[in-house]
C-alpha cells in the first residue's frame, strides 16, 4: 500500500510539472497567427503512417536512418510496457497487461529484444557524437546546450534500456518456475542465466525492485526534460507530421490581405468591404507573426541537420542554414513569448527575430530549391518562413538587394525581369526555318 501511495504521489507530481510545461507552450501558440484549416484527415493519416510510423524520410539516409527507425519502433513497443508499469504502480497489480495473453507475449518479447537493439544504437549514436567529427553536429546554430541536450538524452535512454533489461532479467530469474509468470523474454532469459545464476531469492527481489523504480523514475524525469530540449520532438513530431502542409512543395502561400488590396486596385467597382481596420504587418519580422504551424515546426525540429547538409547555399559556404531558421524561431519565441504574455502586444525588448537572430544575408541566400523540405524527416517547411521574412523586408521595409529591386522594377514596367520592350517578345521567331 505504501508503495502505491508513494508511486501515485510521484506520478501526480510528474503530470503536474508536465502539464505546466505544456500549458506554457499552449499560451505561446495563442500568440501566433492562423495557418490553415485542418481537413483532409484521410490524407493526413496516410502521411502519418508513411512518414512517421513508416519512417520513410528517415530512410533517405540508410544507415543512421535504420538506427533511428529501430530506436523509434523500439520506443513504441517499450512504451506499452511503461504504461503497464504505471498501472501496476498505481493499482498495486502485477504485470496487469498479462491478461492480453499471446498479444502480451509479442509486446513484451519484442520489447525485450528492442531493448538490446536500442542500447546498441544509442552506443553508436554516442560514439558518433563524441568520437567522430560529423559536420552535421557542428553548425553555428548548435550552441553548447544543444550538444549537452543530445548527450543527456542519449544517456537517459541508455540507462532506461539498462534498467529495463535488469528488471526483465531479475523477473525471469525470480518467477521462471512460478505459474504466474507473464510474457516472454528472448534476450533477458539468456542474460539472466549468464549473470544472475545462483543469486538468492531475496537479493533477486531487490534487484528487480531497484531496476523497476529506476526505470519508471527515469521515464518521469525524461518526460519532464523533453519540453526543454530538442528532444521535445518525441512529443511533437507525430502531431507535426499529421499536421503537415499538404500543398505542393513548390507552392508559396498566398497573402490574403494583399489579395484583397490587389483585387480592389484591379477592379475598384467590384471592391467588397474595405480592408480591416487593424494595421496588418506584412510578412514575418518577429515571433508573434509566425503561424501556429511555423511554431509547431520549430518546436518539433530535432536539429538533425539533414536539411542544412543538403542545402545548396550551405554546402557552398553561405551563411544560410535551414536548421538555424528553426532553432532561432524557437529560441526567439522562448524569449518573446513571456514578454508578450506579461506586458501585452506593445512589449518591446528592442530585438527582433529578423536581424537579431536571422540576418538578411541568410534570407537572401535561399534558392527555394526545397531540398530541405524533401529531406526533413518530420515534414518541416523551412522556405515558407524564409519567404515570409523576405516579404517583411520587401513589403514593409523596401529592403531588397539592389539587383532585385531593379528586377522588380523591370517586371512592373516591362512585364519581364529584364529591361526589354514587350514589343520585342516575338523576336525569337523571326527568320525561323526548319529542315523538311
Amino acid at each position: 500500500m505504501m508503495k502505491q501511495i508513494i508511486f501515485a504521489a510521484i506520478l501526480l507530481l510528474t503530470l503536474i510539472i508536465l502539464g505546466y510545461s505544456f500549458y506554457r507552450i499552449y499560451r505561446f501558440f495563442k500568440l501566433t497567427r492562423p495557418a490553415f484549416k485542418i481537413k483532409d484527415h484521410a490524407q493526413r493519416f496516410n502521411e502519418l503512417m508513411r512518414v512517421a510510423f513508416g519512417q520513410s524520410k528517415i530512410f533517405r539516409w540508410p544507415f543512421t536512418g535504420l538506427m533511428h527507425a529501430l530506436v523509434f519502433w523500439g520506443f513504441l513497443v517499450i512504451t506499452i510496457g511503461s504504461v503497464e508499469m504505471v498501472i501496476d504502480g498505481v493499482a498495486g497489480t502485477h504485470r496487469a497487461l498479462g491478461v492480453l495473453g499471446a498479444v502480451y507475449n509479442v509486446i513484451i518479447g519484442s520489447g525485450d529484444v528492442f531493448a538490446v537493439i536500442v542500447l546498441l544504437a544509442i552506443l553508436i549514436f554516442l560514439g558518433r557524437r563524441l568520437v567522430m567529427n560529423i559536420n552535421r553536429f557542428n553548425g553555428i546554430e548548435l550552441r553548447k546546450k544543444s550538444k549537452q541536450d543530445a548527450i543527456l538524452a542519449l544517456t537517459l535512454i541508455f540507462l532506461l534500456m539498462v534498467s529495463l533489461l535488469g528488471m526483465n532479467m531479475a523477473y525471469v530469474a525470480l518467477y521462471e518456475s512460478k505459474v504466474w509468470f507473464e510474457g516472454v523474454y528472448p534476450v533477458s532469459r539468456w542474460f539472466s542465466d549468464l549473470f544472475l545464476d545462483g543469486i538468492p531469492y531475496d537479493q533477486l527481489l531487490i534487484v528487480h525492485e531497484v531496476n523497476w523504480w529506476t526505470h519508471i523514475l527515469l521515464i518521469f524525469i525524461f518526460a519532464n526534460v523533453l519540453p526543454y530540449s530538442k528532444h521535445f520532438h518525441v512529443f511533437t513530431s507525430l502531431p507535426n507530421v499529421y499536421l503537415s502542409r499538404l500543398t505542393p512543395v513548390g507552392k508559396m502561400n498566398t497573402m490574403e490581405d494583399v489579395k484583397t488590396e490587389v483585387e480592389m486596385m484591379m477592379n475598384p467597382e467590384a471592391a467588397q468591404e474595405p480592408p480591416a481596420e487593424e494595421l496588418a504587418s506584412f510578412g514575418v519580422s518577429d515571433a508573434e507573426h509566425i503561424t501556429w504551424k511555423n511554431y509547431l515546426d520549430s518546436l518539433s525540429c530535432t536539429q538533425c541537420g539533414r536539411c542544412t547538409s543538403v542545402c545548396p547555399a550551405n554546402q557552398t559556404g553561405k551563411k544560410l542554414s535551414p536548421r538555424k531558421i528553426m532553432v532561432d524561431t524557437r529560441a526567439r519565441m522562448k524569449e518573446r513569448g513571456p514578454q508578450l504574455l506579461d506586458h501585452g502586444k506593445n512589449a518591446d525588448d528592442k530585438k527582433m527575430l529578423i536581424e537579431d537572430f536571422i540576418t538578411a544575408e541568410e534570407l537572401w541566400a535561399c534558392t527555394t530549391c526545397n531540398a530541405c523540405v524533401i529531406e526533413c524527416p518530420i515534414n518541416i517547411n523551412q522556405p515558407e518562413l524564409i519567404l515570409e521574412m523576405r516579404r517583411y523586408l520587401v513589403l514593409e521595409q523596401a529592403k531588397a538587394p539592389g539587383e532585385l529591386s531593379t528586377m522588380l522594377t523591370n517586371i512592373e514596367n516591362n512585364g519581364a525581369p529584364w529591361q526589354y520592350s514587350p514589343e520585342d517578345r516575338m523576336k525569337w521567331s523571326e527568320e525561323l526555318f526548319m529542315n523538311v
Partner: protein, 265 residues
C-alpha cells in the same frame, strides 16, 4: 539535300480574330523570349510543335511575366498583379491547356494560379515531347546523337517541386544511346543556384558558387552533354562549364534541342 521551310508561329490574337481556338497555348516565358541562349530552345521547341502538327498558338506581345521571381523575391503585391493580369488574358482566349518550356512558369501556373481562380492543365515541354514521341514512334534517328554521353540535371522546380523526374529521362533514352546519372540526382539533386530569384542577383558570399559545384558533379560523370530542361539551369550550367574551362569539350543542351537534332529538323 534537306530543304528549308520557313515557319510562321501562330499568334493567339490572330487566330481569335479568325474565330479559331487552338488546343494549346505555348507559353514562351521571359527567358524563352529574351535570353539569347534560351531563344534557341524556344525555336527548337517551336520546330517540334510544327513537325508534329500540334494545334497551338503563342500570346506574342500579350505575354508578360508570370510573377514567379517577384513572389520569390518577397514582392507578393507585384506577383499578384501579374497573376491577375495573366489570368485575365487567358480568360479572353478561353485557354485551358498550357505548355511551358520553363519549370518556374510551370510551377506558378500549376500550383499558384489556382488561388486566383486560374485552373489549367499545365504541361512541361519535356512531358509533352515525350507524349509526342510516344504517339509517333520511329520518327527520331538515334544515330544522330550516338556520339554523346548525356547526363541530365534535374531542375528543382520540375523535380522536387512537381515530382517530374521521368519524362525528361524517357525522352533522352529515346534519342540517345547513353545516359548518365549525376550524383546526386532526382530528389537529391543539387540546385543550379538560380531559383528563388537568385538568377537576378549576385550570390551571397561563400566558399564557391552553387553552379560551379553542380557543374563539377555533372562533369564527374564523364558526360559530353549536360542536358537541362530549364532556362535558369541552362544559364548556370553554361557558366559553370566556362568556369571549369570545359565549354569546348562539354555542351549544354535543352531536352527540346536534343530532340530537334534527333529529328533532323
Amino acid at each position: 539535300m534537306t530543304e528549308q521551310k520557313k515557319i510562321d508561329i501562330p499568334i493567339m490574337a490572330d487566330l481569335h480574330s479568325k474565330g479559331k481556338k487552338p488546343e494549346y497555348l505555348f507559353w514562351v516565358g521571359c527567358a524563352g523570349a529574351y535570353d539569347d541562349r534560351y531563344k534557341k530552345v524556344t525555336r527548337a521547341f517551336a520546330k517540334i510543335l510544327t513537325y508534329f502538327d500540334v494545334d497551338y498558338a503563342v500570346l506574342g506581345t500579350e505575354e508578360t511575366c508570370t510573377g514567379d521571381p517577384a513572389r520569390r523575391a518577397g514582392n507578393e503585391m507585384l506577383f499578384q498583379m501579374q497573376a491577375m493580369q495573366v489570368i485575365e488574358t487567358f480568360k479572353n482566349y478561353d485557354i485551358k491547356k498550357i505548355i511551358t518550356i520553363c519549370p518556374h512558369c510551370f510551377n506558378t501556373f500549376k500550383n499558384e494560379y489556382p488561388d486566383f481562380g486560374g485552373n489549367y492543365e499545365v504541361i512541361h515541354h519535356t512531358r509533352f515531347i515525350n507524349q509526342l514521341l510516344e504517339a509517333h514512334p520511329g520518327k527520331v534517328n538515334a544515330d544522330i546523337l550516338k556520339k554523346y554521353n548525356i547526363a541530365y540535371h534535374d531542375p528543382c522546380y520540375l523535380g522536387r517541386a512537381n515530382g517530374e523526374y521521368d519524362a525528361p529521362r524517357e525522352v533522352i533514352s529515346k534519342v540517345a544511346s547513353k545516359t548518365l546519372e549525376i550524383d546526386p540526382h532526382k530528389s537529391n539533386a543539387l540546385c543550379c543556384g538560380a531559383g528563388g530569384a537568385q538568377m537576378f542577383k549576385e550570390a551571397e558570399p561563400g566558399d564557391r558558387e552553387v553552379y560551379d559545384m553542380r557543374t563539377e558533379q555533372a562533369l564527374a560523370t564523364g558526360a559530353d552533354v549536360v542536358a537541362t530542361a530549364c532556362p535558369f539551369c541552362m544559364t548556370m550550367i553554361t557558366d559553370g562549364l566556362k568556369l571549369q574551362k570545359k565549354e569546348d569539350k562539354v555542351k549544354n543542351y535543352d531536352i527540346a534541342e536534343l530532340v530537334a537534332m534527333a529529328l533532323g529538323i
